[in-house]
Point group: C2
Chain length 282, copies 2
DNA sequence: ACATTAAATGTAGTAAAATTACAACTTTCA
DNA sequence: TGAAAGTTGTAATTTTACTACATTTAATGT
């Protein structure tokens, strides 16, 4: 587990002086890994053995071992999980926190993806007669994005923002059609209804939503993404990004399945856009 | 750069004994990071100063510093550097690669963001009479998402997919209006025109695009995101996610600027959605 | 082939860093 | 208030890393 996270969490288990050490390390971890125990002790205004005890409390063998763990936590661009934005943060702080927590969420999401389902869904998509992408609210833009991606593949793909259009579209669906539904919570009533309608019309329904939700129960296949809740801002943030990344994964799987020739075709699609762009001169 | 790669590459620059050290480290790097210079010397059958010289040749300050670098390289099982999807990849591989390269891109993007501009743009947004979000193609869904976010803030916010609507909207803009334009390349002609129209009508134009592009030149403020090119798939992937994360940053800055009371208001907006959802029972 | 020089490696001593043992000081609760 | 548990610091010890220098090995020219 990420040791910075661990420090933040076990704060209550620390003694007064140990907390001082924790503060200093959390404030500038990059400095910490390049300091000796003596300098860190001085920075935290405690004695050297206190720093040592601090390290052991975190289940490391001692200071050098702790530094190693710290270095690893800082290495992989997935620094602090759960770095929530708070009131007093300036632009520098909140910007970093948002980026970092987004990355952390992606890491969690990555580990929660069921590869077998991914593979199965890619299968379905490559064989689909028609693909529909629907989502409401924040997930609408995810569906929108999926449309954009799959549109390039020259397959029949459908996306509606309007809930009634979505319903009508699903009513007209049939065997061989795939309906992909996006919803973080999986509790949006209208979307659950759409899933039901689509299934009654023999379409295959894929839900990109949270496991065990009402929507998940109505789907033929569920790609569940475990994403730390964005409780702070009352806005969906990380969940959306995880969904989009999953769309990238599906799109990538799709192109790989279609093979090399198909990818050349994609390049042509991109080239077509050239006329609508200003040339890049190097 | 990953130090293990570096060791492998600089093999020719090493002396005979140094090569022995390199071998041992490459063979079992996990052991190496937990060994002292003495044990590593014994394992490699060389003297301690040789190990030390080996470390310096790799541009580290000494053995402890080298261990730090090594630990970072080992963190997270070869982190995400240049992990491009290729032909033979199975679902497991391409899923991981996509997630990892997305995270890597976010890290790069984070470092390239100009905090001062972020702060300035948040300023503008909080004071705007009307906010418009426009983007075309892949960036359309980003604009769509921005709409969704800022709509919750109860500020006049506008988004159109249709290029003509976008133009008309910009023609009607006036002093105090802020137009935010999304484009990865910044070379889409119609979007550059929109920037010009908006500026002629005294609106403030914010570009979320690449620095130095034609679009950037037409904007009052440019939030440039440096994102590694997604050359592989001929599809915008990481750039999009970086833009979305930046939208999150702006939205967060916005709410922070508006203060605590405002955030309670956000909570109410969220609660309003409750009726359209199935209850969650724990 | 041998001498001369440069490079590489190791030995031994030194400095620095981390850890331990223990003493002094706080806090807690009867 | 005073004993016990917990916390923190001082000083000594041990471990670790580094430096200076001596020795060996390799390279080059005569």
């Amino acid at each position: 587990m990420n040791i910075l996270e661990k420090i933040a969490q076990s704060k209550s288990a620390f003694s007064k002086s140990e907390k001082k050490v924790a503060e200093v390390i959390l404030a500038n971890p990059q400095t910490a890994i390049h300091s000796s125990i003596a300098t860190l002790a001085k920075m935290s205004d405690v004695s050297e053995p206190t720093v040592n005890r601090f390290c052991r409390r975190l289940d490391t063998k001692g200071y050098p071992d702790f530094k190693l763990h710290l270095a690893q936590s800082l290495a992989n661009g997935t620094p602090y999980v759960n770095r929530h934005v708070d009131e007093g943060d300036g632009p520098q702080e909140y910007t970093n926190k948002i980026f970092e927590s987004t990355m952390a969420s992606l890491e969690v999401a990555r580990q929660s993806v069921d590869i077998n389902v991914v593979n199965r869904v890619v299968d379905l998509l490559t064989q689909a007669q028609k693909i529909s992408f629907f989502g409401l609210g924040a997930s609408a833009s995810v569906a929108h994005d999926a449309l954009n991606k799959f549109f390039r593949f020259n397959v029949p793909v459908v996306y509606f923002e309007d809930i009634l259009m979505q319903r009508m579209s699903c009513m007209n669906s049939s065997d061989g059609d795939v309906v992909v539904l996006f919803s973080h919570t999986g509790r949006t009533k209208s979307l659950v209804e759409i899933a039901q309608i689509a299934r009654h019309n023999d379409a295959t329904v894929v839900g990109i939503t949270s496991a065990g939700s009402p929507l998940a129960n109505e789907c033929s296949y569920v790609l569940s993404l475990e994403v730390p809740e964005d409780t702070d801002m009352y806005m969906p943030m990380a969940s959306r990004i995880a969904q989009l990344t999953l769309v990238d994964v599906l799109a990538t799987g799709f192109t790989l399945r279609r093979g090399n020739k198909f990818r050349e075709n994609l390049k042509r699609v991109k080239d077509t856009l050239r006329n609508s762009r200003y040339e890049k001169r190097d």
